[in-house]
């Protein structure tokens, strides 16, 4: 290994100027990052030149990785975990010597591990770029990567995977309930309707009370002091860990440029960002668009190996395998996170309890004022992320994570089994699973702005996926309710049931209630009297009048808090918006039986409003 320092060597080779070296060294005093990475991030050197220079300084040959260079059988003898941990891929083995490619200087522990796996062999190291090393891993372990990303959770604990949609007891319960209902309708239709109506009405009431309680608790959460700009400014950037950003992208060529721009604007040392763009194999257009957007040196491209189900959580699991950060966050392609978000998440983790595994940032929409649908969607998100989730946090109830902007401790996430690729709301599922395992999810006062769906069809597709995912999550965690209660307690179990189970149920029941109400208003028929005895009638009216008024009122405050004053009156139109939810819920219910893992893709890039709107 040469004694000359990297910076001096690069200047000597005229690969960088002295001025550039000085700039990078200055940056290094601020963030403490390695010089080579800093030079890359600052754009002062090409990745290839840097790798070749490092190879020279370390005294190893340089290698370019391609499919022919990697012998998968040799590589696969070195376990994937070890490969990822040491960032080293054995590519050839001639019986005497094993050739191993690395991107960092090999240390003693790597040598010892190789000695165990390839006993008696000489080891020859070759240096390559970070990108080529990732490519080598992907080539060598393609099958393993696919299996881990799809079945990792299932093999770890089948009971927590949505791979099995209904367990046998659930099927039997469902079948018995159906037969009982059919029999009831045949023999005593009115009594059956009454028997159905009583628990439904009581459940509605419980959900109304629960959401009001949580919403008001969430509203009062703002009286707690959140992270301030002063606290963020006081962070010593040298202490900041590497932060991985996973961006699963599929057919998002239209918005990828904007995403990269927002990621560049994050207030976090660029050299400590590890951005992984996760493409699908059948989507070369988005890859091309990403390359055209000239991503920084801290951006890595990954092509997720094809294999069913082709879902976002599967892509995220691939990203999780390769992520190098201590912390990790998911962003969608159309996301515009507030610049301070990563630092806030970091501080929250620093100050939070040991079992804090994830913090969720708020989501909201930059095209909130585009049309009726985007306004209503914004009302809903303002309530959900500004009131409901903080309320759940305050009350220590399980928090279903939002689709993006959830920040994790990467290793704990791996221990939890990552995302469930068979669950189409893998985020909500993960939040509940974390609670099941004794972890906490928290909330931070930072927002990621997204693009609200502006088209009804697109909205229903997206929403049907979300509701289907809630159904899957409810089914997964209700497989053994006693176990759930034993692990998380009665309060959390009830919270889970009312939120995750209750949300789809309410939307499924709602149209029936509306139809009955309209029939009664128009005809004033007495036919419905037997199924609405006085106490049921009063509770139904309470749900209809007080429940809806409370929901609307709290929603008004949620947008008021966001200073979206124009939307306050739009909250009155929520009942019409909820009808759309019901349509989506029935679509979701159908798909739960026919295509449970199918990922209803949401089209982005339809808005005419920019992120700054």
């Amino acid at each position: 290994m040469s004694s000359i320092r990297l910076g001096d060597y690069l200047v000597q080779r005229e690969l960088i100027s002295s001025q550039q070296l000085a700039t990078a060294l200055h940056q290094q005093t601020r963030t403490g990052e390695r010089l080579g990475r800093l030079l890359l991030i600052l754009g002062f050197i090409r990745r290839l030149d840097l790798a070749q220079a490092l190879a020279t300084l370390w005294g190893y040959p340089f290698a370019t990785v391609d499919a022919k260079f990697v012998d998968p059988l040799v590589a696969q003898r070195f376990p994937l975990d070890a490969t990822l941990h040491h960032r080293a891929v054995p590519v050839r083995d001639d019986g005497h010597t094993v050739t191993v490619v690395v991107a960092d200087a090999p240390d003693q522990r790597l040598r010892e591990t190789l000695e165990i796996v390839y006993p008696g062999r000489n080891v020859e190291f070759r240096v390559t770029t970070e990108w080529d090393l990732d490519r080598a891993i992907a080539l060598a372990h393609r099958r393993k990567v696919v299996d881990t990303s799809i079945y990792g959770l299932y093999f770890r604990d089948q009971a927590e995977s949505a791979f099995t949609v209904f367990t046998l007891p659930q099927y039997l319960t469902f079948a018995v309930a159906c037969f009982a209902l059919l029999g009831g309708f045949y023999f005593a239709p009115l009594d059956t309707l009454l028997v159905l109506n009583v628990p439904i009405t009581a459940f509605f009431l419980l959900v109304v009370a629960f959401r009001t309680w949580v919403g008001v608790s969430g509203a009062s959460a703002e009286t707690a002091i959140s992270l301030t700009p002063e606290e963020l400014a006081a962070i010593d950037e040298r202490e900041l860990p590497v932060y991985s950003i996973l961006v699963p992208i599929y057919r998002e060529a239209a918005v990828i440029g904007t995403l990269l721009k927002s990621l560049r604007e994050l207030d976090y040392p660029a050299d400590k960002l590890d951005i992984l763009l996760l493409f699908e194999e059948d989507d070369p257009e988005t890859q091309a668009a990403a390359k055209a957007a000239a991503p920084g040196a801290n951006v890595r491209f990954f092509v997720v190996p094809s294999g069913d189900p082709q879902t976002k959580p599967k892509a995220c699991n691939v990203g999780l395998l390769f992520a190098q950060g201590e912390y990790l966050v998911i962003y969608d392609a159309e996301d515009q996170p507030e610049p301070d978000q990563l630092k806030k998440a970091y501080l929250a983790f620093q100050r939070g309890p040991e079992n804090l595994v994830c913090v969720q940032a708020a989501l909201n929409y930059y095209n909130w004022n585009e049309n009726f649908l985007t306004r209503m969607f914004t009302l809903e998100y303002s309530f959900w992320f500004d009131y409901l989730l903080p309320g759940l946090d305050m009350l220590r109830l399980p928090i279903p994570l939002g689709g993006t902007s959830n920040h994790f401790k990467a290793q704990v996430l791996r221990d939890l089994g990552g995302w469930d690729p068979f669950n189409v709301t893998e985020d909500a599922d993960l939040g509940i699973r974390a609670a099941m395992h004794g972890y906490r999810v928290g909330i931070i006062n930072s927002t990621t702005f997204e693009e609200a769906n502006k088209e009804v069809g697109n909205w229903i597709r997206q929403r049907s996926r979300w509701i289907k995912g809630y159904m899957q999550t409810a089914l997964v965690f209700s497989r053994d309710p006693m176990d759930l209660m034993r692990r998380v307690g009665l309060r959390q179990t009830l919270g889970f049931a009312l939120l995750i189970g209750g949300t789809p149920l309410i939307f499924l029941i709602q149209p029936v209630s509306i139809v009955l109400t309209v029939i009664w208003i128009v005809t004033r028929t007495g036919l419905l009297d037997p199924i609405f005895p006085p106490i049921v009638l009063y509770l139904s009216l309470f749900n209809l009048l007080i429940g809806n008024a409370l929901a609307i009122y709290i929603n008004m405050f949620a947008v008021f808090k966001r200073r979206l004053h124009v939307l306050v009156l739009f909250a009155l139109l929520n009942p019409f918006y909820w009808i759309l939810h019901s349509i989506a819920a029935y679509k979701a219910l159908g798909q739960l039986f026919t295509r449970p893992y199918y990922w209803e893709k949401t089209t982005h890039g339809l808005t005419r409003h920019g992120a700054s709107a």
Partner: protein, 460 residues
């Protein structure tokens, strides 16, 4: 929020036990006096009306039989245990809670003056009305003051949670008095005074947030009345038969007038907030939103408490405190105490006599029997205008009921029953303005004339 949380700013408050003790001291005399009055046979018309409607709804098992009379909250509160004792307890609890909040203000301002002003209004025959005669108004005052406190914190901290609580409290207040909506409108109207640079969208949205609960409550009540009665009830008929006039209010709100005067000497935009509730009371009176003198006095006293200028000198403070004490003393002398009337004793005696009758066996036009019904321990014996079968019974009483009662309040039955017995009935007794007709063969329902504390039975 997760950890990133530092402790919120601590507010100075008196120790829990001190507040409990003082708030109890404020409410206890009213509670004791009211219970003693009830023991002596006093039941206000308002409490009697609440109780009779609740008893009726409970007996028939249909809440809608409360009749969609406004305000609904007192009826709902009395449902679990419809007795005058519970009404009094609720009134005392509301006064206790109100005093608690005022004591909170006292500790924040480090002054006992607000509490003295409150006691000056409460500890008199005027204040006694809120517990002994109309607990609903006490609950309303508590809700209004609770709403105000959050409104002030909303204004001071800009935290939306206080806006939410303001609206909810005003919504509760609206279920006790339509003035809740009026005060919400005032709270909204003065927003530009509190936020001088407030633009139209935020002003409009805050106004909506303040009045929405009241409007939603109105709409709810209207819809419910339509569902159950097929006509929309306008919820502005108050239980108080009439409101005090301008002079009467002014005479019994001297501390308020003094505070208003002191405020006018230090004119600020918010001074309007001191005067508007008074205007609201006068306006409400005109549109028929009736309220008692006690309600007006305590409401304006609360406004005075809120608006006491912080820079009053010692003599001005002494003047205010002295005025409150003097007002209470004068009220003790000049304002008549609640008492039991002869009509009440007669009605109670009759109601007791009729109580053993079988269910729906007494035909009664409840629209003209307020005084009788307020004393009825149960509404089970009566077949009233709100019962199915009333019209049939009216056409052919002997086929449906055993008794027919005519009250001193009016005939109402369209049977000429005040003139002659309905066909098939005979006079069982005729006393104190009440006539009981009995179908021959039906058991007698003798009235205990000795219950009347006069020498001779009242003869018609």
């Amino acid at each position: 929020m997760v950890s990133p949380v530092t402790a919120p700013r601590r507010r100075v408050v008196a120790p829990y036990w001190v507040r409990t003790l003082l708030a109890s001291a404020a409410a206890a005399p009213l509670l004791v006096a009211s219970l003693m009055l009830a023991q002596s046979g006093y039941l206000s018309d308002t409490h009697g009306a609440f109780l009779s409607r609740v008893l009726f709804a409970l007996d028939r098992g249909q809440l809608e039989l409360l009749g969609f009379e406004y305000p609904p909250l007192p009826f709902l509160m009395l449902l679990p245990w419809p007795t005058v004792t519970l009404a009094i307890i609720f009134g005392a609890l509301a006064i206790f809670s109100l005093a608690w909040l005022v004591l909170n203000d006292c500790t924040m301002r480090r002054s006992i003056l607000p509490f003295v002003l409150l006691l000056g209004a409460l500890w008199s025959p005027i204040g006694l009305h809120l517990v002994a005669s109309d607990f609903n108004e006490a609950v309303g005052l508590f809700a209004l003051y609770g709403g105000w406190r959050h409104y002030r914190r909303w204004w001071e901290t800009r935290k939306t949670i206080h806006g939410l609580y303001t609206g909810l409290w005003l919504g509760v207040a609206f279920y006790t008095s339509p003035l809740g909506l009026g005060l919400a409108l005032i709270a909204g109207a003065v927003l530009p005074l509190l936020f001088p640079r407030l633009q139209i969208p935020p002003f409009a949205s805050q106004l909506v947030l303040l009045v929405f609960p009241g409007i939603a409550a109105t709409a709810t009540w209207a819809y419910l009345s339509w569902v159950f009665t097929q006509r929309v009830a306008f919820p502005f008929a108050a239980w108080e038969p009439h409101s005090p006039g301008f002079v009467q209010i002014v005479s019994w709100t001297v501390p308020y007038l003094l505070v208003a005067f002191f405020s006018l000497l230090r004119p600020k935009a918010t001074t309007a907030g001191v005067l508007l509730p008074f205007v609201l009371l006068l306006g409400a009176n005109r549109v028929g939103w009736h309220f008692s003198l006690a309600f007006a006095v305590v409401l304006l006293t609360l406004v005075a408490i809120i608006a006491i200028p912080p820079d009053l000198d010692r003599s001005q403070r002494a003047l205010l405190g002295g005025a409150a004490v003097a007002q209470a003393l004068v009220a003790w002398v000049l304002v008549p105490w609640p008492h039991t009337t002869t009509e009440d004793i007669v009605s109670r005696t009759v109601a007791t006599a009729l109580a053993p009758a079988p269910a729906r066996s007494i035909l009664l036009d409840d629209r003209y029997a307020t005084r009788l019904l307020k004393w009825a321990p149960s509404l089970a014996p009566y077949l009233t205008t709100r019962d199915t079968g009333f019209e049939v019974a009216l056409a052919e009483p002997r086929a449906v009921v055993d008794y027919v009662v005519v009250t001193p309040d009016g005939d109402g039955l369209s049977l000429d029953a005040d003139v002659r017995p309905p066909a098939g009935f005979q006079v069982d007794w005729n006393w104190g303005g009440y006539i009981l007709y009995r179908r021959p063969g039906a058991p007698r329902l003798p009235v205990r004339f000795d219950r009347l504390l006069v020498d001779q039975p009242v003869q018609p």
